[in-house]
């Protein structure tokens, strides 16, 4: 997700009306789901977006993750993706392909599938619970609150990098957290205006665009991040907030992301 932010910031992602992925050397779930959401906002039904693909090794990995299937005919590639060799797993990674989720019933189904998948991975019961709580709460937020026509994209991956880790990512192409909370009484009363601070407000228990009786899903996900000594990054509008269990929230500005992209990472026992 950080790589996607950097490419967007350097104006290198969209070049001459083409999506330029030629410099991409590594893909993480957050970047993959975030890119998928961006593509949704950049394309229209009758105007597919041209793509300069990354090197075969990376493009093959994206093929393995079903990125090209998920994008359908929204993209036109500079190479024949059907001829790509399916990429090898990186660093002992096991993975779940890019998925789209559009209804609350699908949230339930996908959560069940990830629960089964992660349980089979040999993760401790607490780790599986933690991952599924984060995943299900953000998927539900995306499907219920985001007003995202494409629903949500999600991907989960376990891999080794200084120990075993798990990464969970969810993204949508909706209205974004700041838009949903900008006129919330709590934001107005507290003078909260920046997108980053509005994202931070979304994590406060009981703050919801719907009613005081709702809210709590983001906070629940953050509790899991705290318990698992993990890191959760949320990007929405021009806000970029990094939450950790040990040092709270760090708010930054970023290039505009239409929708919301969230990535959580935990070390595994």
């Amino acid at each position: 997700m950080g790589g996607l932010r950097a490419r967007l910031s350097s104006k290198g992602l969209l070049r001459d009306g083409e999506l330029d992925l030629s410099g991409v050397r590594f893909v993480r779930p957050g970047g993959m789901v975030g890119l998928s959401s961006l593509v949704e906002t950049w394309t229209t039904e009758d105007r597919p977006l041209g793509v300069r693909l990354p090197p075969d090794r990376v493009a093959g990995y994206m093929k393995r993750m079903d990125v090209f299937d998920a994008m359908g005919d929204k993209l036109v590639y500079d190479r024949d993706v059907t001829r790509l060799e399916i990429g090898a797993r990186h660093a002992d990674a096991s993975l779940s392909e890019l998925r789209t989720v559009q209804t609350e019933d699908q949230v339930q189904v996908v959560t069940s599938e990830f629960h089964r998948l992660l349980s089979k991975e040999g993760l401790a019961k607490g780790e599986v619970q933690r991952c599924c709580k984060v995943l299900s709460e953000f998927l539900e937020n995306a499907v219920v609150h985001a007003e995202s026509l494409c629903g949500a994209y999600t991907a989960v991956q376990t891999y080794r990098s200084g120990g075993k880790r798990v990464c969970i990512a969810v993204s949508d192409a909706g209205v974004g957290i700041p838009t949903t909370l900008r006129h919330h009484p709590e934001a107005v009363d507290s003078g909260i205006r920046t997108d980053g601070d509005l994202i931070r407000l979304a994590a406060v228990d009981g703050v919801s665009r719907v009613s005081d009786d709702r809210g709590g899903g983001f906070g629940s996900a953050l509790r899991q991040v705290g318990k698992g000594n993990g890191v959760l990054t949320a990007w929405s509008g021009e806000g970029w907030v990094r939450f950790t269990g040990y040092s709270g929230a760090r708010v930054d500005e970023a290039d505009r992301f239409r929708g919301t992209c969230v990535e959580a990472e935990f070390r595994l026992g």
């Binding site: 607490g126 599924c132 709590g216």
Partner: protein, 212 residues
């Protein structure tokens, strides 16, 4: 979370037990939609029971529950009961001893944020369970609940707890609203109304309490 130090409660004495999730349904419980559907099922089960009945909600096969599900199912149900729905009917959530802390945590948080509470029975084997209270349940209420004996009035309970009558009435009223004690009205000796209180789980016989 407050634990009532009790005799083991007899789950066999419950008037009905419904499984959550239903048999044949996934044990992964996620989302408000699913939570609302299960809440409606529990509501129907409660309505089908007679006054004074206790419904057990057996969640021992649930593998996973997220906050949204817990909030929509248990918090809303507890809120509705507290507001007077399904009068004189009671709910006990049943979980497996020491194995479902992740699930209990979500119910605890969802109830706590609205100052609600529920019975939670940790069942080590069929028919017997240790009873706790999940949600927001301050020590003074736990102490009062543990002191209620069948047929107590506010007067007798206030005297036993060395409280003034108003304080005691406020506490028993709160416990009754949370459906943690049974409250029955009777005509007092001088013709005015008087309330009597009874434990919900007769076999639990709460005596002392401790808080975690």
């Amino acid at each position: 979370m407050t634990t009532l130090s009790t005799h083991a409660a007899d789950l066999g004495a419950l008037d009905d037990i419904v499984a959550l999730p239903e048999e044949g349904v996934s044990g992964v419980l996620a989302g408000r939609k699913g939570g609302a559907m299960e809440r409606e099922r529990l509501r129907r089960a409660l309505a089908s029971l007679g006054p004074g009945s206790v419904l057990g909600v057996d969640a021992r096969t649930a593998e996973f529950m997220n906050f949204s599900f817990a909030d929509e199912c248990f918090r809303v149900l507890a809120q509705d009961l507290s507001a007077g729905e399904a009068e004189d009917r009671y709910v006990v959530l049943i979980v497996s001893t020491g194995e479902q802390e992740d699930l209990i945590e979500e119910i605890q948080v969802s109830l706590e944020r609205k100052k609600l509470a529920m019975f939670l029975a940790e069942a080590s084997y069929e028919g017997s369970a240790e009873v706790r209270i999940v949600g927001m349940f301050p020590d003074y209420l736990a102490h009062t609940l543990a002191s209620v004996r069948p047929g107590d009035t506010n007067e007798t309970l206030a005297e036993r707890l060395d409280l003034n009558l108003t304080t005691c009435s406020n506490r028993t009223d709160r416990l009754a609203k949370l459906r943690l004690v049974r409250k029955r009205r009777r005509q007092g000796g001088l013709g005015y109304k008087q309330f009597e209180f009874f434990p919900v789980l007769q076999d639990a016989e709460p005596s002392t309490s401790k808080s975690e």
